[in-house]
């Protein structure tokens, strides 16, 4: 594959920046640390700008839907009005002001918590009807673990069974812990492999 000058330049910049940040972990000298911090600050700045660009794009998409009266234009209207209204309130009064906190406490937070409540009902429904849909040993094992974890995480009124706590801790620390360690090791290896590929220029997600 023939690399263009632009791609080569991007690759060189990415490799150089990655190496500087990586070396900064091992060599704590003034110049390297300052350069590394400068690069990281640029990344933070660009990420903040990306958030703003994302919000503008969201607004543009819904504005176009509203203008062309596509299906669901009313929801787009609600979204645009809420976005602009929230933006004005938070920008004018400040993010920690009473109007802003009112929006958060009585609109945003209850909405999200309601969704989580629905999820709890759906999961419970799935647990109740699970054996109707699939009757097998694995299903029974799954249901048994679920019941033990719930019983170990709560306190039964008037009854204190230490064995339930012990079983719950044994499952969470031994079995779940073993799985979590495996996941962490896999993530670490994958991160290292991806980092090496980017540093070597094999992978160039920035030049697509």
């Amino acid at each position: 594959m023939k690399l263009s000058l632009k791609v080569t330049l991007y690759t060189a910049i990415a490799i150089l920046a990655g190496l500087i940040v990586l070396v900064g972990y091992f060599i704590d000298t003034g110049f390297i640390t300052d350069l590394r911090l400068q690069l990281v600050n640029w990344a933070i700045l660009m990420a903040a700008i990306a958030v703003i660009v994302g919000v503008i794009n969201l607004l543009r998409v819904h504005w176009n839907r509203l203008k062309t009266r596509q299906n669901g234009w009313f929801y787009s209207l609600v979204m645009v009005v809420c976005l602009i209204g929230t933006l004005i309130i938070v920008a004018y009064f400040g993010p920690a002001s009473k109007p802003s906190m009112f929006l958060f406490n009585y609109v945003l937070s209850p909405l999200e918590m309601s969704l989580m409540g629905l999820l709890a009902v759906v999961l419970l429904m799935a647990g109740v009807t699970l054996l109707r849909k699939r009757l097998s040993g694995y299903t029974l094992l799954f249901l048994g673990v679920v019941v033990l974890i719930i019983l170990g995480s709560i306190t039964i009124p008037g009854i204190e069974i230490q064995a339930l706590q012990d079983v719950k801790n044994w499952i969470a620390q031994t079995w779940a812990g073993a799985g979590a360690r495996g996941i962490l090791l896999g993530i670490a290896l994958g991160t290292m492999a991806t980092g090496i590929r980017i540093l070597l220029g094999v992978e160039r997600p920035y030049s697509d």
Binding site: Y25, N41, A43, I44, T129, Q162
Partner: protein, 580 residues
Amino acid sequence: MANIKCPMCGKTNPADRETCQYCEARLRPVFPEMSDEEISKLLGLDDSSKKGEISKDLNSSSDDSLDWLYQIVPEEKAEEPDFMQGDEELPLERFDDWFNHPENGDSGLPKNLFDDGDVQTAPTPTGDEPLEPDWLLKMEENSPGLSPHELETEAGDEESSSESLDFHSDHLLIWNAEEGDTIRSEPDNREDLQGADLPSWLEAMKPVSALSPADEDIPLGPISVEGAGPLAGLEGVIPAEPDIAYSRKPFNFSVKLQVSDYQQAHAALLENLIHAEGKASVISKKEFFAPKNVLRSVLALLLILSILLTFIIPGLLQVNAPGLQNFPSAWAAYQAIEKISLEKPVLFAIDYQPGLSAEMDAVAGSVLKHLYSKKAKIVLVTTQPLGLMQAERLLSRSSQETGIQYLPSQDYANLGYIPGGHSGLLGFIADPRRVMPFAVDGSAVWQQPAFQVVNDISSFSSIIIATEDTDKARNWIEQLTSYATPAPIIMAVSAQVEPVVAPYFHASPSKIQGIIPGLAGAMAYESVAYHPGGIIQTYTPFSIVGLLAVIMILFGSVFNGFATVISLQQKQERNRGDGK
């Protein structure tokens, strides 16, 4: 009627067209049916007028036509032969004789006519030497009954080279015929010789005899002139191959594979797999003891009623806080916070979504109330866009619960949202002052007396991360431990994150100094750190709903399990009945 495909442009034309309607190329040959004679006419070999023209050209401009002969001869030897010096016409008879009997060597042509310097010419026979070569003399001796020509023919079968150089062939001198002459074979001065028996492959070649002028006169036809197409106006153009001008229906080849039934079964299986890949599997509808929506509504109502019951009648169901001995990581967290220095502020990261704030507010609030009770200075930060509001709400609730007022810029500083994900977190940990110089209220936080002591991440007395996200928890731990900060790291996490962060706590040496896992862990922590707290108000309905959920799952599983077993048995019985 079949269409005609143009041989030049390849486009299809109607069958009755002479030329291509697209490129004007000829579609039909000038001579649709071409016999040997017509081919001869086409090539102009038997055209008397053409022959006459050729002969006339040769006679009328003999000097010019023979210039090529003089060019072959070196300049110092460029002597004109006898027949070129006079005004007499070119003695074609002599020329012809020379070609037919080159062994005579006295035709008057230059001796080096065929000598271009490289080709070895045969030595001119002298009068003393026999005219016949040695091999012919030997064959004559061996076969006394045969004539020399027959012997020569026999030898020709063995020596193909002599055949290819047969100067006795009549067709070589067609071009030097005079105008008006008809092409006839050279008077055979060897009438006594019989025709040679040519080998079959030589007979198959045919063109020599096919193209050679016949013994009888052939009337000459008109010279064809191309009338259309890119070759328009040219004479004697060879027409396009008629066969390719007509589009034919292609042959039907059988495409049936010769495969066995076993192979066909496997191919069908593969085909079904490929087809099934793009189709969503249809989940068969199961019959329930009640419609799904009714069951779902009943379950939701039971959960809501149980929660409301704990609020309406608080003393109806009392639950005890779990013992801290069941949460050793929470006990370690408590001990670590108890040892913190109050001269340095505590860094508190609020990194959870509002949807999970019911659990996380209790978990993070238990630690925050502990810090309140110790009058520790707190710096709040988040990597969630809504985290700063979460922090403000948590501070407000903790103040209400403890009755301790924390003032911004004096007791706490809310730095707000750090953009940039992992990079932002890395930048903040590397240099908090540089990355987050201001609080959300716009104050220069590091200039405040309570926070002036902070120069880097190790300046904090403790670092507490409250999150429900495994990636964020891992990111915080790994970035902080890479800086080897001496400040203890406490994780206040939801129950689902505990297995992921537990390995960091159980590592040797520990990467983190304590974990407060979930609502039960927070309840246990609060029972020690700040008693009586408000978590019990959340933990009681949580326990009641959890117990109710267990009962529902067990009841539903038993019921549905038996129902499934019974339906399976009935199905098996039906199958047995069908089998009989």
